[in-house]
Subunit: 187 residues, 2 copies
Amino acid sequence: MKEFRKFVEQYEKIPNHDWEIISGQFKKHELPKNFNILEQGSICKNLYFLESGLLRYFILKDGNEVTKFFTIAPYCFTSQASFNSKKPANEYIQTIETSIIWETSYEQNKKLLELKSWNSFARKITQEVQFFTEGILEDLQSETAEKRYKKLLNNQPELLQRIPLKYLASFFGVAPQSLSRIRKKLT
Amino acid sequence: MKEFRKFVEQYEKIPNHDWEIISGQFKKHELPKNFNILEQGSICKNLYFLESGLLRYFILKDGNEVTKFFTIAPYCFTSQASFNSKKPANEYIQTIETSIIWETSYEQNKKLLELKSWNSFARKITQEVQFFTEGILEDLQSETAEKRYKKLLNNQPELLQRIPLKYLASFFGVAPQSLSRIRKKLT
């Protein structure tokens, strides 16, 4: 729980009194790798904090997995549209590594949002997620797979070691063989 | 200002007392079409409400304009990353039509965020923007230009009439001629 508070306080200072309420609403789970936290068609009922591990978001398109993005610990996550609308998700959330997560329900989170500190934290992290998503979109609209790979290599080289090639390839929108060629060229 | 309150209250009920404070912090501007509200390299110092009109966000990539997305009234907008970090924006925001906007500064918005009602509104609309951005990203990762055009045709047909072909083409990532062919095929 210490890790979680440390993470939250990078965005918003949380008074002790508020933290007692917040921490009381989260439950811890340890998940194996390749575990589906959420499946397409299910409603995402929880908001999560990823204490350790690594996840990927993907959709199934004509039987193929298309990786939307990755979430690396420590970070908060959910399937935003499904969580907020209570409608079935159109995506999977799957662990790539053994992961420790903390979860709270929609109703519990709704109560927490009555706290000004938690409301501000939620606003700020949503802004950041929006910023990240826009960055991925912009890169996809304007850069080649090779340039996008290079960028990730410069910014988060350890991530490239931890993510299996096939997931990376589907994130970059190329065949695994093409990504292997890009990889060889750049090393 | 009535339009603005109506818009905000779709997300969060605003007490009269709060609305007096909020509305006091916004200034109205009428802008001609093709006007740059923000230029790449400048800091986006304002948060805006688009009361009427239509905008596009674009970046310059090797001298070419790449359209990221469109904002249609009524909606709130800013250049999120630049506005929050006070760093130069990497995008342009330009009017496609004559537009009426309301603006407030970073500092004024910061004060407004002390209001629980405004903080909640800000969190909810950021969530929605994140949801829209993720949708565009997902479509771009998994759909052809033709399918994406078809989707927009079904969901917002009037938008296709209002946006010049060249901007639509750069949003779909195809040449204007290709988009013309898609258009002919679908009508």
